[in-house]
Subunit: 403 residues, 2 copies
C-alpha cells in the first residue's frame, strides 16, 4: 500500500521510490536489477539515472521540486512546469526529433518525465570553458530555433490552434523568474544581485543609465507581451548537451509563447560570455574566431531555415507578400541583440552567474572582464536598432575584446 | 417541466421563454406583467427588452446565437463569447462604471447577459450621420480606453493575474472574424469583399500595392501577438450609446488581450469615415472641425489619463524610468493610426460596411468619397511611423478632405 501511494501522489522521489516507479512502466526487461543515482546539479529538479545491469541500458527520470533550491525552499514553484517541459519536448520533437531528448513517459501527477539518457553527451558550457570546439553546434542551434519557432507561430498554425497552445503553455512561475532575474533585479539595487565590491562602480553606472533602463524596460515589456512562438525560454549553454556529431537541447521548463529573438539572444549572450572569458587565456585568437563564427553561423542557419519554411508554407496568405519576411527577421535580430545584452548583464551581476566568468582565476582579470561584459551588454541593448547586420554586431563584440 | 428545460439548457430565446427566464431572477417586483420585444439589429445575437408594466422599469436580455447571421447559419460562433462579454463588462465596470451598461445577471449555460436598458441613449453612428454633436464623447472614450487598458496591462497587474486574464479572455472565434475581415480579405481578391464595379480600379490599386500589404501583414501579426491589455475589440461608433451627458460603450464580445492602439484605431477610423461622408453635404465645415477636434480630444484625454495612472502606479518598477512612457505612447499612437487605416479600408470594400458611406445618396459622390477613403486608409497605414504628432495626423485627414 505504501508503494501505491508513492506512485500515485506527489512526493519527491528517493532512489528507492524512483526505482519502484520505473518498475511500473515496462521500460526495462529486467526492472529488478537497476542501479539508481541522483545526478542532478540543477536548482529546481531531481534528476535520477537508472541503469539496467544486464543490458547497460539507461534512462533518466527528471522530477520537478515544489520550490527553487537556489534560494532555499522559500521560493515556491508550480509543479506544472514538469508538464510544460514534457509537452514542450514532445512538441519540439515533431520538428527536430534529433535535437531533443526522447521522452519515454510522463506523469503529471508526480511531476516527472522519463527520458532518454544522454550521459554520452557533455554540457556545452563546460566544454566551451575547456576550449572544446563543436563544429556542428551553430547549425544545429540555428536549425532548432528556426524549426521550433516557425512551427508554433501564426505563420504556420491555424489561429485556433495557436491560441490554444498559448493558453496551454502559459508558464507564470518560470516566466516570473526571467522577468525578475533577467529583466529587473540586475538593473536596480536589489538584494538578489551578487557581485564583488570591486565591480560596484561599473554596476552603479548601469543603474544610473536612464537610456539603458528605458530600453531594458521596453525589452521586458516585449518579453511579457509578444506571444510570437513557443520558446525554449532558457537556451543558455548549460541547457545544451553535445558530442562531436550530436546536439541536444534539454530542460525546456521555461517554455512559453514569447518573442522569437529571446532564445537566440540567450544563446548569443552565453557564447559572448565565454568569448570574453578567453581574454584571460593566452593564445586565444583561434578560439575567439571560432566562437564568433559560431554566432554568425547560428544566425545564418536560423534565417535560412526560417526563410525556407516561410517560402514553403501556404497557411498564411501574407507569407506571399515579399516585404514581410525581411522586416520580421529584422525584428527577431534586433530583439535577439537586446535580449543578449540583458542576459550578459544579469549573468555578470545578478543572482545566477556563469562559470565561464566566475572561474577566471586571476581576480583582477576577472573584474576587468566583468566590467567589459557590463559595458558590452549595455552597448548591445542601446545600439540594437542600429546594428543592422551580423557584421556590425561582430565588430561590436570584437571592440569589447580589444578595448 | 418544459419551462425547466428551457431555463437550464441552451436554446435561442423566444419572447415567451425569455420572459419565463427573467421571472426566475427576482429582478422585478411584478414579473407577471412584463412586455417583451426583440429589438436586436445585430448580426450575432438576440436582444430582448422587457418592461415591467406597473413601474415602467425595463431591462435588456442579450443572448448569443451559435452562428453569425450576417453570413447565414454557416458561420458557427462559440457561445463562449457571451461569457467573454459579460466578464468584460464586469472587469470594465471596476474602472469605468459609468461608461458601460450595468450587468444584473449572467447565465453562461444560456449564453446570455441581463443588463441595464439604455433605450434612452442613441447609437452614436446614427447620431453622427444626422450631424448631432456630443461634446463629452471624446473625453469619455479617451478616458474609457486609458482606464480599461492600463488596468489590465502589465503596468498595473501582477504577472500571474495578467497571464490568467489573458487565458480567460482568449477569444478565437471573434478574433478570427477580425483577422479575416479587417486584416486579410479586403486586401486580396476575396469573395467576402463587397464593392461596386465603379470602385474596382481603386480596389485593385490597394491589392497591387506591395508596400501597403507588407505593412498590413505586419499590423495583422501585431494584432495576433501583442497581448498588451484587455481590449473592447470592436470599438466602432455602432458600439457606443450616447446622450448629451452620458456615453456607454456596449457589446464587448470581441474582447481579448491585444495591442492597445487597436481600440483607438477603430474609433478614429469610424469618426474619419463619418467625416469623409460629410463631403457629400454642403455647409460641412463646422461639423468636420468638430469631428477632427473630437479625435484630437480623444487622444489627448487618453494620453493624459494613461500618464496619470502610470505616475500613480507603483506596481512595476520600470514605470519610474522616465523614458519609457513616451516610447510606449508612441507605439500606441503608431499602432492606432495603422489599425485605423485597416478599418477605413475594410469598412469601404469589405464584408461589413458603414452606413455613413453607404447612405450617401448621390452615387457618384459616394464612389468619389470611397476612393478618398481607400487612399487615406492606405496612406495612414504606410505613413504611420512618420506621423509623430496629432497635428501631422489631422493634416493628413484634412488633405484627404480637400484633395
Amino acid at each position: 500500500m505504501a508503494q501505491q501511494s508513492v506512485v500515485n501522489q506527489y512526493a519527491p522521489f528517493t532512489t528507492q521510490t524512483v526505482m519502484e516507479f520505473v518498475k511500473t512502466l515496462s521500460i526495462f526487461d529486467h526492472p529488478n536489477k537497476l542501479i539508481v543515482k541522483e545526478i542532478g546539479d540543477g536548482n529546481l529538479n531531481l534528476v535520477f539515472q537508472l541503469v539496467e545491469l544486464e543490458t547497460n541500458r539507461s534512462i533518466i527520470v527528471k522530477q520537478a521540486l515544489p520550490y527553487a533550491k537556489v534560494v532555499g525552499e522559500s521560493w515556491p514553484l508550480s509543479l506544472n512546469r514538469a508538464k510544460i517541459e514534457s509537452e514542450s519536448l514532445r512538441m519540439t520533437a515533431r520538428v527536430v526529433p534529433n535535437l531533443v531528448p526522447h521522452v519515454l513517459h510522463t506523469d503529471h501527477e508526480l511531476a516527472c518525465t522519463v527520458m532518454e539518457d544522454l550521459s554520452d553527451h557533455h554540457i556545452l558550457r563546460t566544454e566551451l570553458i575547456s576550449n572544446q570546439h563543436y563544429p556542428l553546434l551553430a547549425q544545429h542551434i540555428g536549425y532548432y530555433v528556426a524549426q521550433t519557432s516557425f512551427a508554433t507561430s501564426d505563420f504556420a498554425l491555424h489561429p485556433f490552434v495557436k491560441k490554444e497552445l498559448v493558453q496551454k503553455f502559459t508558464n507564470p512561475d518560470l516566466c516570473k523568474i526571467t522577468e525578475d532575474l533577467v529583466f529587473t533585479d540586475p538593473f536596480f539595487d536589489h538584494p538578489t544581485n551578487d557581485f564583488p565590491h570591486e565591480l560596484r562602480h561599473a554596476v552603479e553606472t548601469i543603474w544610473a543609465d536612464e537610456d539603458l533602463l528605458t530600453e531594458v524596460g521596453l525589452l521586458k515589456f516585449q518579453f511579457l507581451t509578444h506571444a510570437e512562438a513557443l520558446l525554449h525560454g532558457d537556451l543558455h549553454t548549460g541547457s545544451i548537451f553535445v558530442t562531436e556529431q550530436s546536439t541536444k537541447v534539454i530542460d525546456p521548463e521555461f517554455a512559453f509563447f514569447g518573442p522569437i529573438g529571446f532564445d537566440l539572444g540567450q544563446f548569443f549572450a552565453n557564447i559572448i560570455l565565454n568569448t570574453l572569458s578567453k581574454l584571460a587565456t593566452t593564445d586565444r585568437q583561434a578560439i575567439v574566431s571560432d566562437l564568433l563564427r559560431a554566432m554568425e553561423q547560428t544566425w545564418i542557419t536560423f534565417a535560412q531555415e526560417f526563410t525556407k519554411l516561410w517560402d514553403e508554407s501556404n497557411h498564411e496568405i501574407y507569407t506571399n507578400v515579399p516585404g514581410i519576411l525581411p522586416r520580421f527577421l529584422l525584428k527577431v535580430w534586433t530583439d535577439a541583440i537586446g535580449f543578449a545584452g540583458c542576459e550578459i548583464i544579469r549573468r555578470t551581476i545578478g543572482l545566477a552567474h556563469v562559470a565561464d566568468l566566475d572561474t577566471i582565476e586571476d581576480f583582477h582579470i576577472q573584474i576587468e572582464i566583468k566590467e567589459r561584459a557590463l559595458q558590452l551588454g549595455a552597448d548591445l541593448i542601446k545600439s540594437r536598432t542600429h546594428l543592422y547586420s551580423l557584421g556590425h554586431f561582430i565588430q561590436r563584440i570584437k571592440g569589447a575584446l580589444r578595448s
